[in-house]
């Protein structure tokens, strides 16, 4: 048995609003960090061994953006580094660091301030292969995701009505959240009456953007028990990067999520995760992605049945995004995975899977009380 367990002892957040004009990203991270530390009485200058920040140069508008990581976390002149990817990848690195036995307490930060990005579409275009893909001049990134959506719906025999069931359910779940400015009581009929923007996706399939920052504190078992009575234990982690070129990928299935979940479930000892998991917090950058993850993780055999029977709803046997996902909260770029993890920690009533899927990289965490 592995002697070092890793627990989440606290988190704090700031924002979750379409725009936060009154604070800079550093002030938002400071607010989130202060809350996270205050909850468990930590002084970051003396009690935190290392700090992880998750962000990307182009979204920040700053080259070498990791320069701006330390001060607002209390990490100046301490071990600090940046992961370029979703916040869950930062959590996974912190998890491994504690597992080595050399670190006890680590803070992980991710933030996104898309309201300040003036050239969102151009940045998405810059993510494409400069030689083979960029010259094709896709009108927007949505067109690439629409191809995936179409392939996935064909692979899973889903109709737009099925997507509507999910969107309606997730947006309603968001009404119970204090971080979900875009939640609504959208009905399936209203969804189906929307014009397709880029088939098969309509307006409500695309996560709106929001500004947010989250800071998590992870600790080794001994320290976690000193700091809180109710740590969230991480029992498995997995992550994977699929091919960058869309035409090399299997568009109907998410191989990165499949590989990452297999790794995480193996560590967590979950032989039949579809039955053993009490909930899923899924990446919802696009509506279909949450369903694709549930399917790619092998949690259901035929998506149509649990979706139509309500098994994936808040009261079902495998609820997905019980307080809404990015469709309700908005998409705070790299912080989306941490937003999902925050929801998991808030409602933790069994073993759950938390998934992020940014670009062609997926990360999966298995958590339990």
């Amino acid at each position: 048995m592995d002697p070092i367990r890793v627990g989440i002892v606290s988190y704090g957040f700031s924002g979750f609003s379409p725009s936060v004009p009154s604070k800079s990203f550093r002030e938002m991270v400071f607010e989130a960090a202060s809350k996270a530390y205050a909850k468990v009485g930590l002084n970051p200058r003396t009690d935190v061994d290392a700090f992880v920040s998750c962000k990307e140069d182009f979204w920040e508008g700053i080259s070498i953006t990791d320069e701006f990581a330390p001060d607002q976390l209390g990490g100046a002149l301490k071990p600090v580094f940046t992961v370029t990817g979703d916040g869950l990848l930062g959590i996974i690195n912190a998890y491994m660091m504690i597992k080595t036995g050399a670190f006890d307490v680590i803070a992980v930060e991710a933030h996104g301030k898309p309201s300040e990005v003036m050239s969102y579409g151009d940045i998405e275009r810059m993510a494409q292969d400069p030689i083979y893909l960029r010259p094709l001049a896709f009108p927007s990134y949505h067109t690439v995701k629409a191809l995936e959506a179409r392939a996935f719906m064909k692979y899973s025999n889903l109709t737009r009505e099925d997507l509507g069931i999910y969107v309606s359910q997730s947006k309603r779940n968001g009404l119970l959240s204090n971080r979900a400015p875009h939640a609504s009581s959208l009905t399936v009929d209203s969804y189906l009456s929307e014009r397709e923007l880029v088939g098969p996706l309509s307006h409500s399939d695309l996560a709106p953007r929001s500004d947010a920052a989250l800071v998590f504190v992870l600790a080794s078992e001994g320290r976690a028990r000193e700091l809180t009575d109710s740590p969230t234990w991480i029992t498995g982690v997995g992550w994977a990067t699929d091919y960058h070129t869309p035409s090399y990928r299997e568009l109907g299935r998410d191989i990165a999520t499949k590989n990452a979940s297999e790794m995480a479930f193996r560590q967590a000892g979950l032989g039949d995760p579809g039955k053993q998991l009490a909930f899923v917090e899924a990446d919802e950058r696009y509506s279909f992605m949450a369903l694709m993850e549930v399917s790619s993780m092998g949690l259901v055999k035929d998506l149509r049945q649990p979706l139509r029977s309500g098994d994936l709803s808040r009261d079902g046997s495998l609820p997905v995004n019980r307080r809404g996902g990015a469709l309700s909260e908005g998409l705070p770029l790299e912080a989306h995975g941490l937003a999902r993890l925050a929801s998991a920690c808030d409602l933790l009533d069994g073993t759950g899977a938390v998934v992020s899927n940014m670009g062609n990289t997926s990360a999966v965490l298995v958590v339990r009380p």
Binding site: D49, E56, D57, F58, G61, I62, S63, I64, D66, E67, F68, A69, P70, D71, G75, A76, L77, K78, P79, V80, F81, T82, V83, T84, G85, L89, I92, N93, M96, M97, K99, T100, G101, A102, F103, D104, I123, M126, A127, Q128, D129, I131, G238, W239, A240, T241, D242, Y243, H244, T245, Y248, I255, A256, N259, A260, M263, Q267, G359, N360, T361
Partner: protein, 392 residues
């Protein structure tokens, strides 16, 4: 860190590879990454399918001109496997093996491909330095339009003033490293030059002359790091990663004494503590301190505790840092000689220590018997130190 360090799983390096370092290489970032990875795997006796995790590093996205470039350049290398890109500016190259260390030491990965890539030369016209126009605080600093050579000139000047070091003493580093690089097959800026050549080269920003500075480069480097069990299976000659350290100072670079790198001292202390090193001056046999500018090698030797503060120039002048000296530094030829594709340059330094400890450095092999070596990198706003200590 924990008061009692008890790292169960030892981590070893068993292979390394390096592309040519050149300005305007024809290969794409993906091709450079693949070439370096293939070489490292060949030395380790492994194939892509044998690897279970990939850790990569690269400096600003703007160099390669691809947003989230880590996902792009690992095509053909990661292929559905766990991959993460880490980033600490110029310190990234040595930080990649640091992050790979915990991938293995945690027990989660057993065979890790460690990759660093940079393609600077196509970044912007007329010169990739333009990328550095956007590294500043957008409100307070950017309106002044500073550039990197300008602030490093401030640091160099401060160091010279604080330690009473002369330009000609600093130039000795450039002379040594460029000459060492004559024996490096990847080298881009190897040369046999004199102190006068450095002093008479074009003045960029006082006190920085053209030959005080490393060039713009493209390149990639890779290592294979494995668990103890796999190290013993794969080779009779593993090199153990015994200490890792990293430290990041405040973003507010204007508020610190530029004459001495406190962040590097802290990073080195972390690595020495893990490696059980109490007296680095005696225990480190060979070092690759980061040398994008010649004064930086001296500055870093002092931060690493390889000599007392303000004594590095003296040590260099006495010849102790030559390949046949008591403390050989940058036997590879360093960034000044081999070239400076930012993250790839850092990993080149770690790779050189690996080859030196294995006795595989060929014409670059240092004269003394070496057991413990150290590689270090530096970056951001004169802010980050990354250190890796390896033993035979």
């Amino acid at each position: 860190m924990r008061p009692n360090i008890n790292v169960k799983n030892r981590v070893a390096v068993v292979g390394a590879g390096l592309t040519l370092f050149r300005r305007r290489l024809m290969e794409t970032p993906q091709e450079l990454s693949w070439i370096a990875a293939r070489q490292a795997l060949d030395q380790a006796g492994l194939d892509f399918n044998d690897i279970d995790c990939v850790v990569s590093g690269s400096a600003p996205d703007a160099f390669d001109g691809v947003h989230m470039k880590g996902e792009y350049y690992v095509e053909g290398v990661a292929n559905g496997k766990p991959h993460v890109r880490v980033f600490v500016g110029g310190g990234t190259g040595v930080f990649v093996p640091v992050a790979a260390w915990w991938h293995v030491a945690s027990g989660l990965c057993r065979k890790v491909l460690v990759l660093a890539e940079e393609k600077m030369s196509s970044a912007s016209r007329p010169h990739p330095q333009a990328v550095f126009k956007h590294i500043w605080d957008p409100l307070v600093e950017k309106p002044l339009n500073p550039n990197l050579i300008w602030i490093f000139a401030m640091e160099m000047h401060r160091y010279m003033y604080r330690c009473g070091v002369r330009k000609e003493d600093i130039a000795l580093v450039s002379v040594k490293n460029k000459r060492n690089a004559l024996d490096h097959p990847s080298a881009q800026a190897a040369a046999k030059i004199t102190v006068d050549d450095v002093l008479n080269s074009e003045m960029l920003v006082y006190p920085v002359n053209r030959l005080d500075v490393s060039p713009v480069s493209d390149g990639a480097g890779a290592m294979v790091m494995v668990s103890e069990e796999w190290a013993n299976r794969l080779t009779d000659n593993p090199i153990w990663v015994e200490g890792v350290g990293f430290n990041l100072d405040s973003t507010n670079w204007t508020n610190r004494d530029l004459g001495y790198p406190v962040y590097l001292k802290r990073a080195a202390e972390m690595a020495y503590r893990l490696a059980g090193i109490e007296n680095p001056m005696k225990e480190i046999d060979v070092a690759e301190p980061y040398d994008p500018f010649d004064y930086k090698e001296l500055h870093h030797m002092e931060g690493l505790g390889l000599c007392p503060p303000c004594k590095a120039a003296e040590v260099t002048k006495e010849g102790l840092t030559q390949r046949d000296g008591d403390l050989p530094t940058s036997p590879s030829g360093g960034l000044l000689g081999v070239g400076n594709p930012i993250a790839a340059a850092g990993i080149m330094k770690a790779i050189e220590i690996f080859w030196q400890l294995r006795g595989e450095a060929g014409a670059r092999q240092v004269k003394k018997d070496v057991v413990t070596g150290l590689a270090q990198a530096w970056g951001d706003l004169m802010q980050v130190g990354t250190v890796v200590v390896m033993r035979r």
